[in-house]
């Protein structure tokens, strides 16, 4: 092996040397930017510089899918093959790109120019199918016409009133000049710390990342906890398949988040903040860096409180709060056992408040309006505005901001209803860790209390629509693949359960179930739900178990129709019609079969290539 020139690495990682092990992920990102991948001498140099054991550095590289310890192409094309993109023939797109480059998914062209990989959800669901092309988003890829959009992804925002998203959807990022003074922060600084916390408690705000924990209670816990320094972390590791609301808030209105964080920091006495962004949103980093610079120049961020950006590297599990802390600390993203909870034992073992992006965006609103006024939005038990990520088979997919209390039907009407005048078959509600709903749920009010009664988790606000022609079995297989890919492997129920679940769901999708598969699937599902260590494992079977209740016949190996209720039979008939079209997908996204690919005309291929060249020159 030729000697690797380490001089550029040494200067690139210099800023992280004082961070010690916590600088590991930033250093690995920096190294990969220089060399394209992380070779042994590079990893050894980083280990030496940050004083991290060699084996641990290797363990970290191995954990995160966006770090490579072998050479990859200069251009990395990640094609999303998750739920929403799959509905827009992402498999066809992947096959097309692979065929064009003469490689298989996961491979690199012999000249080392291009690597193509199937990717879990990229958070661009409303503009499916989507690709992460290097560090850029490529969306609305249309093989027939050869058209696509490259660069800053569009923000499609609807609903009313637009309180959280008032600055979103304009096609540009809000500068500080446009955002204006941090009025709420100014007001907060004139208040007593406990009064701010009481105001947030009184607002009834609960976390918008999925767990719905009362925000004010978290703040109070962190503020009262012994230990210093205290930290605030903004969880921007938005990775729940079907979720893209935080992407829009981060890209279009970063100052609202920074203001929310700064208020929180003041209230709880935190001196340091982190924004942890998922690795699949690299294009947000410069936007945030710029906003932080503006906030520093304006004096909102200073020596008393400042914010650092951390970029993840392809691990859904790092959205779990304790795994996220581990990741900031430069470790594999293994979730910790709780208790102790983050409020007393968070990042670096210190009291930490961790809130989702959307949650923090509510803070300036609550402080400036006052909790009484804020509570006029939404319902008594679910106050405030809520962002829903509507995608799949709807006419106008996008983020919709509505007060809690509108019905699912009203929300779908805003999005123009089911696309192409088809009927709705199902909605994946709350994300991959959510549950399936049907047209029977259309009049459920979107509030925590009504959804709980209906057995639907609000999750991260995902509403993904499947029309009557869709093969739900394919969706199950993708769910199975997703969780098997994203399980960290720490606890046994999830480590092996997600794998076994995927295998059975692949059989379901291939219509090759074996006797006893339904019982196996349920035993695995219930065991993961009951006994897993963290939220990932505890919800990895949630959507599948809900599907078993709705469509047991799809999981039964006998081939007989299992009738639960009259409606289910009808649905079954519709499905049978579309059977011929449906795809026998093994291993879900990873191995698309050539025969199912809608072959684009040669002309389209040409056009795509020529436009690709033009696009990449920018």
């Amino acid at each position: 092996m030729s000697e690797t020139n380490l001089a550029s690495l040494q200067s690139a990682i210099e800023p992280y040397l004082t961070l010690g092990r916590s600088g590991l992920l930033p250093a690995l990102h920096a190294a990969q930017k220089i060399y394209g991948w992380i070779s042994e001498p590079v990893a050894a140099e980083i280990a030496k510089s940050l004083r991290v054991p060699l084996a641990d550095v290797h363990g970290v590289i191995e954990f995160y899918t966006l770090f490579y310890n072998e050479p990859v192409g200069k251009k990395f094309i990640r094609v999303c093959t998750d739920q929403a993109c799959a509905l827009k023939d992402a498999d066809g797109l992947l096959s097309h790109l692979c065929a064009h480059h003469g490689i298989k998914p996961g491979q690199t062209t012999p000249d080392g120019a291009t690597t193509i990989e199937a990717s879990p959800c990229l958070g661009l669901c409303e503009q499916a199918p989507a690709i992460l092309y290097g560090d850029e988003a490529e969306t609305n890829v249309n093989l027939k016409t050869g058209s696509y959009e490259l660069g800053r992804p569009k923000s499609i925002v609807g609903g009313s009133p637009r309180l959280l998203t008032s600055n979103c959807g304009t096609g540009s990022t809000t500068s500080l000049a446009k955002y204006g003074e941090y009025i709420a922060l100014k007001k907060a600084r004139g208040m007593k710390r406990e009064d701010i916390i009481n105001e947030v408690k009184a607002s009834g705000l609960v976390g918008r990342g999925g767990a719905a924990f009362p925000t004010g209670v978290k703040w109070e816990g962190t503020s009262k906890a012994d230990g210093s320094p205290k930290y605030i972390v903004c969880n921007a590791d938005e990775s729940e398949p079907g979720t893209f609301k935080d992407r829009i808030l981060l890209l279009d209105d970063p100052h609202r988040i920074i203001e929310g964080m700064t208020i929180a920091a003041y209230a709880i006495g935190a001196s340091k903040g982190y924004i942890y962004i998922r690795g699949e949103y690299p294009y947000i980093v410069p936007v945030l860096e710029n906003a932080l610079r503006e906030a520093r120049e304006a004096g909102y961020l200073n020596e008393d409180f400042d914010i650092e950006i951390r970029l993840g590297a392809g691990a859904y599990i790092c959205g779990e709060e304790t795994a996220l802390f581990e990741s900031i600390e430069g470790k594999r993203g293994f979730p910790r056992v709780k208790p102790p909870f983050p409020t007393t034992f968070g990042v670096f073992g210190k009291p930490t408040d961790i809130n989702n992006v959307e949650t923090l965006c509510n803070i300036p609103l609550i402080i400036s309006k006052g909790s009484a006024e804020y509570r006029k939005i939404g319902t008594e038990k679910s106050p405030g505005p809520k962002l829903f990520c509507v995608s799949g088979d709807v006419t106008k997919p996008g983020v919709y901001e509505v007060p809690f209390g509108v019905t699912l039907r009203e929300l779908l009407d805003m999005a123009g209803g089911v696309a192409n005048k088809k009927k709705m078959q199902a909605v994946l509600f709350g994300g991959a860790a959510g549950a399936f709903a049907t047209s029977a749920h259309l009049d459920v009010k979107l509030t925590f209390e009504d959804l709980r009664a209906a057995g639907l988790p609000l999750g991260s606000g995902v509403v993904m629509v499947f029309d009557e022609t869709r093969d739900m079995r394919d969706s199950f297989a993708r769910l199975g693949h997703f969780f098997a890919h994203e399980s960290c492997g720490k606890c046994y129920p999830c480590q092996m359960g997600t794998q076994r679940q995927m295998e059975i769901l692949n059989r379901v999708a291939a219509r090759k179930t074996q006797e006893g598969d339904l019982a196996r699937l349920q035993d695995v599902g219930w065991t993961m739900t009951d006994a897993s260590l963290c939220g990932l494992g505890q919800t990895a079977a949630s959507a599948v178990l809900s599907a078993i209740k709705l469509w047991p016949e799809m999981f039964d190996g006998s081939g007989k129709k299992v009738v639960v209720k009259a409606k289910a039979v009808k649905r079954k008939t519709q499905n049978s019609k579309s059977k011929a079209k449906s795809v026998n997908r093994k291993a879900a996204a990873m191995k698309p079969k050539a025969k199912v690919v809608k072959k684009p005309s040669k002309k389209a291929v040409m056009k795509k290539n020529s436009s690709r060249k033009t696009a990449s020159r920018h």
């Binding site: 060699l54 084996a55 290797h58 594999r332 056992v337 492997g489 794998q499 035993d523 505890q538």
Partner: protein, 233 residues
């Protein structure tokens, strides 16, 4: 003086010192809770979940190796949910790895009515035997990822940091820096990892060779490091 808490385990009243885990509290009254990843000498990570119990008022099953006894707690160690979780975890283990050197787990499978063949056509974790040093062999087909070896190699005992993890999820495997052989790592051949391995995935080289049918005298003429040790004797 230590504070005592009293709780109920499977209907039996028991008083224990505050800070006692449910696992230890159960042992005090002769209630046997199975464990796999738990080891007295290593930090409990509650990852095998075989020791889960049902605690009244808790939505999820609780790992008894780390959950502390509390006043008036009501614990079920063999409820239906507990039994299903244990049985399923054992069945998944059997479908994943080679348990031939783990008699304790095979006995456990019998006790919980776990079937070896529950999961047909299941992908197994298979691996070549790594025989790269004079002291021990590594057969990761037998590894159930209890983490003990990584822990004793790191902060739980030796602070050598020679091993960590490759991959993640089902594909996880214990590994070294860029898969280097053991002599090329920081390993000092202390043998602590071999000592805590519950399944024979790590095995003394001598034991391995004996199992392969070699005779003791054949082994002693091999330069396996045994020689140096015998000089000291």
């Amino acid at each position: 003086m230590a504070i005592e808490v009293s709780l109920t385990i499977d209907g039996q009243q028991v008083s224990v010192e505050q800070g006692t885990t449910l696992l230890k509290a159960a042992q005090q009254i002769g209630v046997d809770i199975p464990t796999i990843c738990f080891h007295e000498a290593t930090t409990s990570n509650a990852l095998c979940r075989i020791c889960v119990v049902e605690v009244e008022g808790q939505r999820l099953l609780q790992p008894s190796c780390i959950v502390k006894a509390a006043q008036d707690m009501k614990v079920q160690t063999r409820s239906e949910r507990v039994m299903r979780a244990r049985r399923t975890i054992l069945e998944m283990l059997a479908s994943t790895m080679d348990l031939s050197d783990a008699p304790a787990i095979l006995t456990m499978m019998e006790a919980y009515g776990a079937s070896v063949e529950r999961f047909p056509d299941a992908e197994r974790r298979e691996s070549e035997i790594k025989d790269d040093n004079p002291m021990y062999i590594r057969d990761y087909s037998k590894c159930l990822l209890c983490w003990r070896c990584v822990q004793v190699c790191a902060g739980d005992a030796q602070y050598t940091f020679a091993i960590n993890f490759n991959g993640r999820g089902f594909e996880t495997q214990i590994g070294t820096f860029f898969d280097k052989s053991i002599p090329e790592t920081t390993c000092v051949l202390c043998g602590q990892c071999v000592g805590v391995c519950p399944t024979g995935a790590l095995k003394p080289k001598r034991e391995f060779l004996l199992e392969q049918g070699m005779k003791p005298e054949e082994i002693s003429v091999m330069n396996t490091g045994r020689k140096r040790r015998s000089k000291k004797e």
